[in-house]
Symmetry: C2
Subunit: 310 residues, 2 copies
């Protein structure tokens, strides 16, 4: 068995995920706990929460180096780490880390998030996604998309992340299907998997030449008119809206200059949404590169290795 | 006092509004009841609900003619009236009415909604707005916007409504400010009226030359990044988002071909949103025409007068 040398924390608002990692970067053990999520930790007792989650790893293996990223480094977290401005690569992110020593003598390094001061109307921000991007490799200039509640479109140039933009796509999908007129119209069939035909129908309209597809506030009303017209069934709605919303993200990202037909785009992360994004990309003339599933861990280790040399 | 000759019903899902009207079209009395809303009426007891609301008007004035529009004419209402296809004017809408006689001998006429078979991706629909448009007068060719939960952009040509498109703007605003990341960020100050400076800031970005404004899913994230950047205060958020969302409706409607700089656009209805729409229109180079407050009643009477002649 390999020897553990570090603990990597993906520490967010709703959960704490921890990985016990070897020198070669292999994951030897991993845990996820809801109770460690920032919103559940009272009175700033983050160190106690960490020990409750992985104290036995320290007991067994000594004062391992800890590397933490995610909302734990935000204003509401343990240690606020200032955003590093784009353009930034491994060196700039490593220089932006903050280090402390735990009561048990283990060093803990908090990784910074990133800020794009050129984004409009206000500088954009991310915490955690920058490590995923770094972990995918930054040797080749390209555009990347990171699907999620708040998707990111990012550009890698000359070994650094040169800019990025947040799209609240996942949240808008959730709002529409949980709380809007659509919530009443739909009839999901859990467990049956995506109805790809319905998904494609929404996506194809979003990718079409029709100018009406530029009007998302209107296009989304098609979830009702499609039922009225007998073109959609209640069980189609969830996937139809998914295709329409994600397709609209691509359409908007194209309008904002993040993609054009013929580009190759990397899809980053192992989010369940990635297969949906991969299905839509060709409708916009894009070639897809799939990222390694452990991109986040790789990125943290790359940044961490430079940070600990400083 | 003038003699009442008819009762006009604006009968929707959540409320029943009734007006007692003279021959010259003046409103002599009016009432609104929540309990008469379609969703609260059990077992199809619509006639009983009508009598509970305005039975005394019949007792006092005899079997007055009743004209009903709104969701009461939909599949979930009292009498389903088929949509009349665009293009349609007073004559076509009058021909699409359905008439019944109440137990007390009063004739009740149900007005049809309208359908635009040319809308993409599916035919669009409305119930009630067509009467408002007719009531504004259809002598002049022009574009109209009807602000609301589901706003309509409509075109009047040659005395008829030639086409229209629904924008779920009000609903999207409500979802975002009630249920999204924005709900936590905002700090509304009820009773202080709109913070127009914040409203204008959102609207101006939506109307700007910046291509990022074409990406609504991204632009809306500025409600968070504006706070982080110290550019917006929590109390600004509600009106900032209002300006951004309504401004985005105009931007999308422009992309979809409903408006261009230099046009004159009518704002229809007496919705509280109208002042917000009127404030944004000049940012898109539009001249505004305000509609009469009683456009809906006028329209119903114009359609009704032809319907009862048939």
């Amino acid at each position: 068995m390999q020897t553990p040398v570090s603990i990597i924390l993906d520490w967010g608002t709703s959960s704490l995920r921890a990985a016990l990692v070897s020198r070669s970067g292999d994951t030897l053990d991993s845990r996820e706990t809801q109770s460690g999520g920032i919103q559940f930790v009272k009175d700033g007792a983050f160190e106690a929460a960490l020990m409750a989650a992985v104290g036995d790893w320290f007991s067994s293996h000594g004062p391992l180096s800890v590397f933490a990223s995610g909302m734990i480094t935000s204003r509401n977290g343990w240690v606020e780490v200032a955003y590093v401005d784009a353009p930034a690569g491994v060196a700039e992110l490593a220089a932006g880390t903050r280090r402390m020593t735990l009561a048990n003598g283990a060093p803990i390094t908090f990784l910074p998030g990133m800020r794009d001061p050129a984004a409009k109307p206000f500088p954009d921000v991310m915490r955690g996604e920058e490590a995923q991007i770094i972990g995918c490799g930054v040797d080749t200039d390209r555009t990347l998309v990171l699907p999620g509640t708040h998707s990111k479109w990012a550009r890698v140039e000359k070994g650094r992340i040169s800019g990025f933009q947040t799209y609240a796509t996942g949240e808008i999908f959730s709002l529409l299907t949980k709380h809007s007129f659509i919530a009443k119209a739909q009839d999901p069939e859990p467990g049956n998997g995506p109805l790809w035909e319905a998904f494609d129908r929404g996506a194809q309209f979003a990718a079409s030449d029709n100018a009406a597809a530029d009007a998302f506030f209107s296009a989304i009303f098609s979830a009702r008119t499609g039922i009225l017209a007998g073109e959609l069934r209640p069980e189609d709605i969830m996937d139809y809206v998914s295709g329409l919303v994600i397709g609209s993200e691509f359409r908007q990202a194209r309008a904002a200059g993040w993609l054009k037909s013929g580009d190759t785009v990397g899809i980053v992360g192992n989010n369940v949404l990635n297969s949906r994004y991969g299905r839509i990309a060709p409708l916009f003339g894009l070639e897809i590169e799939v990222s390694p599933a452990d991109a986040a861990k790789r990125g943290v280790l790359m940044i961490a290795s430079q940070a600990t040399e400083i």
